[in-house]
């Protein structure tokens, strides 16, 4: 894997253009199908122009999840329906990245419309896990995590609706953050479930992740849910957890958890205890309802968010037009994949007259209870620690045919999105050569404590120094 400081050194020794060109060469030779679109022409040109740029990421290549709008670069959400769609505008995070001097090298693979846990539902084929190409990289930001793990780029952006940054970070042995809802502007992020999701930074280590987070976080008047104020998160990169109180929710170590995962996470807690933190078990009694509530809310919102894809103004167009009703139906029938259709149908059902109270309204009530669980658990503790995923990466096509089993894999990540709190996943061990992720959750808008805990853990362990052998 490559770090930002190595990249900046390389730029100093050669040039941003040279570094970006090498990066693009690596991407084009990737064995893991990490990218959907490579910015072959615009990236080297941007790098040339970045010569002499003084921003914190001047000349540094970055990969962007394909559901974040990039002006002039195709943005497909890994769906056939958006094939050929080139946004006329940049997402807020892209504007910030460009202002910081970063170079967009392309758009990375994902589950179609971010709906998935394995990156297998992409219209452009699955991304493979660099640690074991027979396994999934996690999802939905599978391309974002895999490209960092494979050493193709030092940084990437993902998005996290129910674990979509943390799951692939865990499966690929990299660091990924789901910030507090509202910390990063969603302007330009193509909505899947807009009340749940946030854009999140991915890197090979906590320091780089924080540097990237620092660049993209901050208020944006174009997103009404964006909160005011700017912080310098790099100040939280402090190797010290003395006096820190960790809560360990036992509900996150439930049925189906892999033994190695359980052990690695507990080892992590004890390592922090050795460094001066204390821990206690906490109860989060409504965790068992989180998965059902999450899927009802996410699918309901998706059914509405994805209504705009009708082929009228952009994206897929059929050979022959019929009346608009037929044309819409055909475009959507041909343009959406199976999982997307499943979620649109289920979400439409959940919002229908007669069913709304039973499903959507009830899910919102559960959401409140989950949020209260977090508030209670974090009252006497500073952070919570739990496994990100109950298991290491599973095999390709092992679960894709059984949606319910696949949904179950999100059991530890979705409560965080329902509550809107921040959570970082970072490597804490290995099982048969596959990385294991530990997630550190914090209070709303207290990314600093989450980052400090993660940084301290990383500084005192060596999991982040391991990289897959990519030949």
């Amino acid at each position: 894997m490559i770090t930002v400081s190595q990249t900046l050194e390389a730029i100093k020794d050669s040039s941003a253009e040279e570094v970006v060109s090498q990066c693009i060469e690596r991407i084009e030779n990737s064995k893991f199908n990490t990218f959907i679109t490579v910015a072959k022409d615009s990236a080297p040109e941007a790098a040339r122009k970045a010569e002499g740029h003084t921003g914190p990421l001047a000349g540094v290549p970055i990969a962007i999840k394909d559901n974040i709008s990039t002006r002039g670069i195709q943005t497909t959400c890994a769906s056939k329906i958006l094939g050929g769609y080139v946004p006329p505008y940049d997402a807020h995070v892209i504007e910030r990245l460009k202002a910081a001097g970063a170079i967009i090298v392309g758009k990375v693979n994902m589950d179609e419309f971010a709906m998935g846990t394995s990156t297998e539902s992409s219209y452009y084929g699955p991304t493979l896990n660099p640690w074991d190409p027979e396994r999934v990289p996690g999802g939905s930001s599978g391309g974002s995590a895999a490209t960092v793990a494979a050493g193709e780029v030092p940084l990437s952006l993902g998005s996290d609706t129910g674990g979509s940054v943390r799951c692939p970070a865990s499966f690929c042995g990299v660091v990924g953050l789901k910030p507090t809802y509202g910390v990063i502007s969603r302007y330009g992020l193509i909505s899947y479930a807009n009340s749940l999701e946030q854009i999140g930074p991915i890197a090979s280590n906590v320091g780089d992740m924080t540097l990237l987070f620092n660049v993209i976080a901050g208020h944006d008047p174009r997103d009404s849910t964006s909160v005011a104020g700017e912080k310098d998160y790099t100040k939280a990169l402090v190797n010290d957890v003395k006096g820190l109180t960790i809560g360990v929710p036992k509900e996150y170590f439930g049925e189906g958890i892999d033994q190695a995962v359980e052990k690695s996470v507990w080892d992590g807690v004890h390592r922090l205890e050795d460094l001066g933190a204390s821990w206690q078990e906490v109860e989060m009694p409504h965790t068992k309802y989180a998965l059902a509530a999450y899927y009802v809310i996410a699918m309901s919102e998706a059914s509405s968010n994805l209504a705009r894809f009708d082929g009228m103004r952009y994206g897929l167009r059929l050979e022959k037009d019929h009346d608009w009703h037929t044309t819409y139906s055909e475009i959507r029938a041909q343009g959406f994949g199976e999982e997307v259709k499943r979620r649109i149908l289920l979400g439409t059902y959940a919002l229908s007259a007669g069913y709304m109270d039973k499903y959507y309204i009830k899910a919102l009530k559960v959401r409140t209870l989950i949020r209260q669980d977090f508030e209670r658990a974090l009252k006497d503790t500073d952070v919570l620690i739990a496994p990100t995923m109950p298991t290491p990466a599973f095999k390709l096509s092992e679960k894709i045919s059984d949606p319910l089993t696949l949904y179950m894999a999100d059991v530890n990540t979705v409560p965080i999105n329902l509550a809107g709190v921040p959570s970082v996943s970072l490597p804490c061990g290995f099982s048969d050569g596959l990385p294991i992720g530990l997630q550190i959750m914090g209070k709303h808008f207290d990314e600093e404590t989450v980052i400090r805990t993660a940084y301290t853990f990383e500084q005192n362990t060596d999991f982040h120094t391991k990289a897959p052998e990519v030949v």
């Binding site: 559901n67 974040i68 709008s69 943005t75 959400c77 958006l82 769609y85 946004p87 006329p88 505008y89 997402a91 969603r186 302007y187 330009g188 992020l189 193509i190 909505s191 807009n194 009340s195 008047p221 174009r222 997103d223 009404s224 849910t225 309901s300 919102e301 059914s303 509405s304 994805l306 209504a307 705009r308 894809f309 009708d310 009228m312 103004r313 952009y314 037009d321 608009w324 009703h325 819409y328 439409t348 919002l351 229908s352 007259a353 709304m356 959507y360």
Partner: protein, 497 residues
């Protein structure tokens, strides 16, 4: 106003016409659309030139509320005697249509911006109250242009998104309206109030669009859409009453359905029945979140202009004019403004030193009311012109000419007609047409008499006592009972002594 005098009429009489209206008002006096920064001055421009990622519904774009649109909506709500709740909230109304770029419309559902209000109108038998159920905010969809004229005949349809995202306020009445004429009066009164609030330019196409619900004898109701004028509303409702009556007479049954008003043919045609009704799956728009508006209302209320009913009452009590005149003058804000300006300018002319609040010449006020409400308005209506076609300054000169008895009333009417048809000022018209009354100059006579009657004051002035002229002026005013211009009198006296 006068709550006690309003009687709620029997809920249903024999024919039992019940009409409820839904009026979509475009808040087109805002600078920008409701959720983006696109300007609203698109009416003379090419299609799809006033758009951005937000109002085109491009993937990833997000709505941001135009706070001024909330302010305007609260203003209207308050003017319609509505309650403004603690919070207001936006919802998504999900349905597919090519003019709707997101596949849903951002509108309101629970927690509309205003609810439970009323408007008083002139009913068939005295003043009646039409209750307002609610007023809610939403975004206007784009505009479909059917090449070839109609949906049926066109081979393809063009979509113009310039209108997409313009702020709408939908005002929903209770079914309190009992006749097409009352419906029209309600709409006229509403337009009048909106004009007073200065939130909508009702002259622009599509600025007030009406849907009407109508039922007979407690039967099923039909909803008539696509009514774009107040006259059209009256015609559409008349057609519906006749249609439903005939249906019932023949032993048929009115079905609950949506009908389209074909303005050109003056008929309504069925669009869809209840069985085909949409399930819009309303749910909260998380991209906007609730807006706390309770704190806004008092401040907005304080800046609310005087509304037609209050102004009418003030005109009666302050200017001593009849209620009919007051009603006619206040039924359009521009006319009421015109009238007040004329009265103030005339009064100022006659007594420049007095504060206008303490001093208004009642006979001038009455005079102006007659000439503006009866004469000028009649001539304007006849020519299909509005009040802008006549200058305040010309009306002031005209009233002075008549009031000072320099021209006859008959000539006054001729002056108005001539100005409207050929232009010019009252003085020019009077001169050109030789309308000045022969030898009837009472001011000149009065000045002559006063000079002759007060030799001492004349002497004083000649020996340098400037104030003596004020005494002489006072005497002239007395003789003319104030119907002389102070400046004019002063000049005439100085000239003659």
């Amino acid at each position: 106003m006068r709550e006690g005098s309003l009687k709620l009429r029997p809920y249903l009489d024999e024919v039992g016409v019940m009409i409820g209206l839904e009026i979509h008002v475009q808040l087109n006096k805002l600078n920008t659309k409701i959720f983006c920064g696109c300007p609203l001055d698109y009416h003379d421009d090419e299609p799809n030139t006033h758009t951005c990622p937000v109002c085109l519904g491009l993937p990833g774009s997000l709505p941001v509320i135009n706070r001024k649109s909330v302010e305007y909506s609260i203003k209207v709500g308050l003017a319609l005697n509505c309650t403004i709740e603690e919070h207001t909230q936006f919802y998504r109304k999900n349905y597919y249509y090519p003019d709707l770029p997101k596949g849903f419309q951002i509108t309101q559902y629970d927690y509309p911006i205003a609810s439970n209000g009323y408007i008083n109108i002139e009913g068939e038998d005295g003043e009646i109250r039409i209750r307002i159920n609610r007023a809610h905010m939403e975004e206007d969809p784009g505009r479909l242009v059917h090449e070839g004229g109609s949906i049926e005949r066109s081979k393809h349809t063009l979509i113009d998104y310039n209108r997409s995202g313009v702020a709408l306020l939908e005002i929903v009445t209770e079914p309190d309206i009992r006749s097409p004429k009352e419906a029209r009066r309600f709409l006229d009164k509403l337009r009048n109030i909106l004009g007073y609030l200065d939130v909508v330019d009702t002259t622009l196409e599509g600025s007030m669009r009406v849907d009407a619900n109508i039922s007979l004898s407690g039967g099923s109701r039909s909803e008539v859409k696509n009514i774009s004028s107040h006259k059209g509303a009256e015609r559409a409702l008349l057609f519906e009453i006749v249609r439903q009556k005939n249906l019932l007479r023949r032993g048929g049954k009115v079905v609950q359905e949506t009908r389209h008003f074909d303005e050109a043919r003056g008929v309504t045609v069925s669009l869809r029945t209840k069985e085909e009704a949409h399930d819009y799956r309303y749910f909260p728009e998380a991209d906007l979140g609730p807006i706390k508006v309770a704190d806004w209302a008092p401040g907005i209320k304080a800046t609310l202009p005087e509304l037609p009913d209050a102004r009418r009452e003030r005109f009666v009590s302050l200017y001593g004019i009849t209620d009919d005149h007051a009603k006619s003058l206040t039924s359009e804000k521009q006319v009421a403004d015109f009238y007040e300006e004329v009265v103030i300018k005339c009064s100022n002319y006659y007594k420049p030193d007095e504060s206008i609040d303490d001093y208004i010449q009642l006979d001038i006020a009455h005079f102006a009311a007659v000439w503006i409400a009866d004469e000028l308005k009649g001539q304007l209506n006849f020519r299909n012109l509005n009040i802008d076609s006549f200058k305040v300054k010309d009306m002031v000169s005209l009233i002075k000419l008549i009031h000072e008895n320099k021209i006859t009333e008959q000539s006054g009417k001729e002056v108005i007609r001539t100005i409207l048809d050929d232009g010019g000022s009252p003085d020019e018209v009077v001169a050109a047409k030789g309308l000045l009354k022969a030898g009837g100059d009472i001011v000149t006579t009065a000045v002559k008499e006063v000079i002759a009657e007060n030799p001492q004051a004349v002497e004083d002035y000649r020996s340098g006592k400037q104030e003596a002229v004020n005494f002489l002026m006072g005497q002239v005013m007395k003789k003319t009972r104030g119907r002389a211009g102070a400046k004019e009198v002063r000049e005439m006296i100085i000239q003659r002594i």
